[in-house]
């Protein structure tokens, strides 16, 4: 593949050998990321989005995991790269922020030390200088009295402040890419928006490309320019954020959009849900992954649809559904808004 994009993922597959069989957590995912842009990866738990984001940097630790496909960072292959090669990418070129900042920080080290430790892993710099840098970074991410707080331990911080520490750490070596895996899910609702906005702003001003993994469409709209919707290890739809919100093509996307609570409409008795649950990733058949939960299933759904350009004029917009664009546009409107029709009866 070409080195045109900063990060390019090509037919990435991650599977885990378990006692019950092979679990295909990531099943042929391809996408790209350009310098400075923000890409959202959306999906429910179990859709493979976290497994994929961990795999980008070779952080999936499971000895039963097998990886196929390619991840190119500035043209060089990361899948199967040596630990020492990956070590120079991790933290320095691609940084990562995790969901729960409490458990993501080591409880027995001071936060300043933990930031400085990353700097010293990539630069020949004295402990004292790295410590000073850590304090500057903490100030930059909005931690008040950073000099004193650098000497505190993670448990002495609030959830939002801990996540700011993680953000400071992520930015400490001026990475090219930041992968944020549900960075605000574990936080209080009141600080979620703030942290997100600050993180986005930091990325913008330092030209860092962002991959935001989330299940929350509200966050996607605020932060990203493009989005991928993942379901059962595959991308089911990818588009610019405007296209995705204005003209969503995949029934699963409709369901996700329909289940976001909206303040601008009269509240229905129950928040709409997608019937059923995410499928087991074990021994997937050859039919469309979403078919068992889809109210619009028909004959062709026995084959997995390709991820294809279907909407005329939308060159970034691909989806995996056999319905025609006209059918989709008429089916997706439920009670005057985008949503997924309920399946009727017990739903199978």
């Amino acid at each position: 593949m070409s080195a045109d994009h900063l990060l390019e993922v090509d037919d990435l597959r991650v599977s885990f050998a378990t006692e019950e069989g092979v679990v295909r957590a990531v099943d042929g995912v391809s996408f790209y990321l350009d310098a400075g842009e923000a890409l959202a990866i959306v999906g429910e738990s179990g859709s493979g989005k976290s497994a994929m984001s961990l795999t980008l940097m070779g952080l999936t630790r499971d000895t039963n995991a097998t990886f196929n496909g390619h991840v190119y960072f500035e043209g060089s292959e990361l899948v199967g790269a040596s630990e020492s090669a990956l070590r120079h990418i991790r933290g320095r070129e691609i940084a990562m922020i995790f969901q729960d900042p409490m458990s993501a920080l080591n409880p027995v080290y001071r936060v300043g030390e933990q930031i400085a430790e990353q700097i010293r892993a990539h630069e020949r710099i004295s402990k004292r200088k790295a410590g000073e840098r850590a304090i500057e970074l903490m100030t930059r991410v909005g931690i008040p009295q950073a000099r004193e707080r650098a000497g505190a331990y993670p448990h002495e911080f609030s959830g939002g402040m801990r996540q700011r520490v993680m953000i400071a750490m992520a930015f400490s070596c001026s990475p090219r890419v930041l992968i944020a895996d549900e960075p605000t899910t574990a936080l209080d609702v009141t600080v979620q928006a703030q942290i997100l906005a600050e993180m986005r702003e930091l990325c913008r001003e330092s030209g860092v490309a962002l991959i935001l993994v989330t299940h929350d469409f509200g966050i996607v709209a605020e932060v990203a320019e493009r989005a991928l919707v993942m379901y059962a290890g595959q991308i089911v739809e990818q588009a610019t954020v405007e296209e995705l919100f204005e003209d969503p093509q995949h029934p699963y996307t409709w369901g996700l959009l329909g289940s976001v609570p909206r303040l601008d409409r009269p509240r229905s008795a129950r928040l709409p849900t997608i019937g059923g649950s995410t499928p087991s990733l074990l021994n997937q058949g050859s039919s469309c992954r979403f078919a068992p939960r889809c109210p619009h299933v028909f004959g062709r759904c026995e084959d997995v649809p390709p991820l294809a350009l279907q909407v005329p004029g939308q060159h970034e917009h691909r989806d995996r559904c056999w319905l025609s664009v006209e059918e989709k546009r008429s089916f997706r409107v439920v009670e005057g808004a985008i949503g997924l029709a309920s399946q009727g009866g017990s739903g199978s």
Binding site: L59, G91, M96, A104, N106, Q118, A121, Y153, C173
Partner: protein
Amino acid sequence: MTRFVVRRFLQALIVLAFASVFTFLIFQVIPNGNPALRLAGRTATPEQIAAISRSWGFNKPVYVQYFDTMEKIFTGTVVSYSQQVNVLSQIRQGLPATASLAIGASVIWLLWGIAFGLLSARRPRGIVDRSLAAFSLTAISMPVFVVGSVLLYVLAFRTSLFPNGGYVPFTQSVSQWFIHMILPWFTLSLPAAGFYSRVFRSNLLETVHQEFVRTARAKGLSRRRVVMGHIVRNSLIPVLSLWGLDFAGVIGGGAILTETVFNLHGIGQYAASSIQLLDVPPIMVIVMYAAVAVVIIGAVVDVLYALLDPRILLNA
């Protein structure tokens, strides 16, 4: 910190009071427990026994006897019934052997347990892990008196590679001291090392899956730094606190079997022989000494624990 020290001091006093009262009472209700019978010898007349009872104060009410004994203990004048020697000087004589055993063995079993734990955790359920698990279970279930006796028989009696028990003071000859301590150290360490390696292994395997380890890798740290600085560092905390308490047990005279098998004349062996003779004063003193040792070392462990894990508060 002051609050912590004061609290621990009060705790020690309470433990001492309970331990001494219970020990004293046990020997009041034990059959044939009357020390006058043994002090008087085998052919004593009832008059002689009564006279001894009077002179030693065994005819006084129990609580008076208890406080008399406690007073003698704290003024350092308590003597044993059996040999009528000063108990505190006996303990002082036994302390070097017991301390040599405790310090040496506990360092050995800690390092041994850490090494085997690390080797086991490298590849869980691999061949090394399974072999070391088998070794550990065998080591844990081997009674000290069997291991000690077999070692003495094979290495001291049959082949004379090692001395046949006994203790040589450090101040007298360092090399002799060392040679005399090797077998006791090994014998006492063996089951503890087996246990510690299993505990450390499971701590390591638990820590490996902690999210901060994933963060450490995502930061681009070297493998060595991830393992030593994050996995091992955090897994050691519970092992070290366990170690402190086990050490307290041995230094408090708890290694009775090892001291007896190797005839070290330490505090544990003194306790064992005193119990055989139903000799209350030394037993009281040793119980109280052990209690103080456990409380003091327990406090030291707690301070260390708070230093190693900042989430622990001493005053909590």
